[in-house]
Amino acid sequence: MKNLFLSIIFILVSSVSQCQIRIEGTVCDIDNNKLPGINVMAFHNKKDLISYGITDNNGYFCLTYNIDTDSIRVTAYGFDYEKKIIDIGSFSRFISIKLKEMPIMLKEVHVKAPAIEQQGDTLSYLVSSFSSKDDIVIGDVLKKMPGIDMDESGRITYQGKEINKFYIENMDMLQGRYNIATKNISSDDVALVEVYENHQPVKMLKDIQESDNAAINLKLKPDAKGVLNILAQIGLGAAPLLWNTELTSLYFSKKCQNINTYKSNNSGDDVTNEFTSFYSDAQSDNTGDMLSVHSPASPQISRRRYLFNNTNSVSSNFLRAVSEDVNFSANVMYYNDYLTKESLSTSTYYLLEDSLLTIKEKNSFSQSANNADATFKIETNKENIYFTNSLNLKAQWKTDNGRTVMSDTSRQELNDKAFNITDKFDLKKNINGKILSFTSINSYNYTPQEMTVKSNLYKNIFVADTNTDELKQSTAFNGFKTYNKLFVCYEAGYFTPSWSTGANIDIQSLESSLKTVDVQSFSNDSLNNNLMWNNCKAFISTGCGYKRKKLKIDLYIPLEFNILIINDKIPKKEETVKRFTLNPGLDMVYDASSRWTVKASYSHRNYLGGMKDIYTGYILSSYNILNRYDGQLAEKSTDNYYLRFAYRDVMKSFFGNIDIFYERYNSNLLLDRSFIGILQVQEMVGHNTLTDSYGLTGEFSKHFNKIRTTVKLKPSYFRTYSSIIQQGDLVDYNYEFIGIKCGVETQLYSCVEVSYDVRWNTGHTITETESYPNINTLSNFLKIKVFPIERMTVTAGFEQYLTKSTSTSADMLFADLYVKYRFSKIDIFLSWCNIFNNTEFKTISYSEINRFMYSYEIRPSEVLVTVKFKIL
């Protein structure tokens, strides 16, 4: 700065009427060269700026002020000159200042990319803005991102809706088993988590068939690509002997992706959920499970606390991109698991005239399960052609053992096998702007089950003179399904008309018999079933999409024709049912602004009940539940109304949505439950039943980037009106539930990280005559992570569960401690779970008009030391 600057003079308002003080001067370097462009400032009290000037070409400056003071501080500072500070008396004068040449290095500030960035329909979450030192895998970070939520099973939702695809580098290797990614890929290897809103995975259908669901893509850091990572974990603990070992290999490149895992533990770590595909089309409804060994429902606490397991699992996931749009993937996995449960339960059934049936039982349950699953898929996804074929093979074989102690003991043993093979074929082609699609899904399922029950519950129940106490129930389910659909659509201006037609054939058979172990089968036919069920459905559907400005409307009107042939061979009854049904639906989406989306939809559906609610011979489905139906076909219909408001402001990192629903469910059958002693007999009887439910769920989350804090709030409310027959008495009841979840996660200070979650809910049942007491539960979760030194993390976790009803209450407090220490490239973890050594967890719940109190055995105080390191 060698040229002239005009000095700018200013006067700071001062109430003191003083004559103006004027300090003039020159600034030059050591060789007496005049320095232009030097900032000269005058400070009162050494800190309050009262005047400033910038030296002109002659190095001249002039400072004026009106402050009444004895002395002032003058500083001179300029580009490449050392700062000079002089304290002088406050009176008009002339000073000369000499500056030494010295390059100035500024304290650098690195530009932080915004935590969330939006480009069109893609939101990019910067992983480093959400992760902390303690995070190990990407799943730990995903949970903290606003708008994204992950439940305990690992299921991911975005703005309250399930994601429809999970990609790694835009490739779908895991086919929905994304727990394998979220629990194994290191958070350090991921640069961005991208959310593709309204994601249509089929390229050809983009802009033609829009989706409401979002997809997630993990964008890896460049140095995480093209390298093979092998990670190992060895964990040992007590008491009793505990272990938790893992061996994982990961490889991601442009052409090839591969994740292999081997995991073994008995420390309550549920690795089997890595085998679950969360994609909506992966959920199979073709199961043939009829029997079960009595075991209480899982308590509403972290699974790690009550899971007594011994699991060994292996999985191999592979994807090869043959070309940019063609890839082949294979997922093969197997696990075996031995788990045990112990519980005490009190079930209270409200019977006629205020009489109560209370059943107290002690339950021991063990399961030895083997599961194998293999999926092979080939996919071509181009602008003009889409082709995919996936073949899935599943096998499961397990043995359940149960012991239930009441006044006496009942033993149950279930041998359960299930085999399933499913092939899905999908071909879509764009021919001159018309989309032609053919989909075919074929599956076969075979489920044989055999349960032996030893109990004196049954004496004189089935046949008066049979004094048996050991029964054998066997069932065999066979099912074959083929679903075929042809679909055409094209775009015509604002409209996208579509037509589809197809045929579904569903063939099922059920054979069952209830016998004593020693004697042959009972002569009584009512204890056997031999049923064939053939359902053929032909449908033709027309639909139309409409898109104009910010409004999208989709209307579809499928007309279905069902022929159902039921051949019940034991009563020698053959029945043919023919039904025409119309199942229309309407979806509307209005993008009110870049932030607001409103969605409304309505659908009506008619359907016929399945074979599992039509058999007429008794089946002992559990040691104390005897089921049968009166042979009347269930005919059901539902009307669904849905309204959604979603808001997101990416700049402010705020996401919110409210979903409101109303469902009316109509059935011609009603559950009739009666008791013979404590043996429950459940039958379906012909009675028109209406079940109305409505509710509201919301989800709000905001991230404060400056203070590295995420706040989430999830309110929910629902109410159901329905009926049940209990001990011959028709009871109308309604159930109301209110729940609030709230969480804060903060990394405000670099040495401490705190997360706090609170969940509160209340529910109660009301019948015409009675209002049952509320059950209130309050859960608090507090986690404090401290980083005392760079390499160390100490985490203290507290969980409190309060359950309260009028007469009973339960209060549980858990404390856990985790210490992580990084020793060069080895992570050492010490975990001490359940420090207070609680041995049981108590809870209360409602089902219909009945009340259940449980006490579960939970894992005692345990210490585990784990070492995690990188082999490659």
Partner: protein, 290 residues
């Protein structure tokens, strides 16, 4: 073919935001004016439409400071020009790929402050393939009024100063610890680097996001510049946004069959020949109101 490409081009441009529609320029030829010692990054917030004050757009402004000269320019526009330049080297048509376009909003003003001459050279690019104007202005014409208030920005203690400048009331926060009397856009003349400056209507703001000690050449690209004045450019832009298609007809007068993507009464985007396109008024809210 040429028309078709141009149509796609315009379609893509208009899908970004027509007010910011900007054609990229080749930046292969330039002259070096000096060398930076510091590079300061600012986030620039703009409000294009005063009727929709909640709709903000954001750019990133880089201020390169050297001993005699500084340059303030849009990083988004620079990235846009560089990807265009690279693709032009590889054959121009390959650039017509939407991925290159989504670079966000771009401020089209470049300012070179010549400390030695106490003046600045302003380069202002007009929408689409419009002219590139250049004009000269005197530096340090802002009459700052300092106040005693202080606040901390990025770890620097900053003092407050306010001014009235060309129709807006601005509040600036400058760091006396950094002896650089400079700032983003035309702002300068305070005894310390300006780290934040915003107008009282909340329509424009510059916020420092990064400070780096780095040496790199400060360059001026060899475009075909048209000498002008600030007042003439202001009039030019008011006319341009008053009837945007009329402006485009002037720019593309050799190509009467150019298609533009217009929005019809129902809100659907339809291609229309530029020569037949109706009047289109584009909201315009310049940083200098006077």
């Amino acid at each position: 073919m040429k028309d078709k490409i141009l149509f796609m081009f315009l379609l893509l441009l208009s899908s970004i935001r027509i007010v910011n529609a900007q054609s990229p320029l080749n930046i292969d030829d330039y002259k070096t004016l000096g060398e930076s010692r510091y590079v300061i990054t600012y986030e620039m917030m703009m409000t294009d439409d005063t009727l929709k004050p909640e709709e903000k757009s954001y750019d990133r402004i880089l201020l390169e400071i050297g001993g005699n000269i500084s340059k303030s320019y849009s990083y988004n526009l620079y990235r846009y020009d560089s990807s265009y330049t690279i693709s032009e080297r590889n054959g121009a048509h390959s650039f017509l790929n939407s991925s290159h376009f989504n670079k966000g909003v771009m401020s089209k003003i470049e300012i070179f402050k010549y400390y030695t001459d106490n003046n600045m050279i302003v380069v202002h690019r007009m929408p689409v393939q419009g002219p590139i104007f250049i004009y000269k202005e005197t530096m340090n014409i802002i009459n700052w009024i300092p106040s005693a208030e202080t606040k901390n920005i990025l770890g620097y203690q900053c003092n407050k100063a306010t001014c009235q400048f060309r129709g807006r009331n601005w509040t600036a926060w400058f760091a006396p610890q950094i002896p650089l009397s400079d700032g983003p856009w035309k702002f300068c003349g305070l005894p310390g680097l300006i780290l934040q400056v915003e107008d009282d209507k909340g329509e424009y703001a510059f916020t420092c996001k990064g400070i780096k000690n780095t040496t790199k050449p400060i360059v001026m690209y060899d475009y075909f510049y048209e000498q002008s004045t600030r007042e003439e450019i202001a009039k030019f832009l008011i006319n341009c946004y008053e009837d945007y298609y009329a402006y485009m007809r002037k720019i593309y007068k050799d190509m009467p069959s150019v298609l533009v993507a217009t929005t019809d009464a129902s809100g659907k985007r339809v291609p229309v020949k530029l020569s037949e396109a109706g009047k289109k008024k584009v909201p315009y809210n310049p940083i200098e109101l006077e």
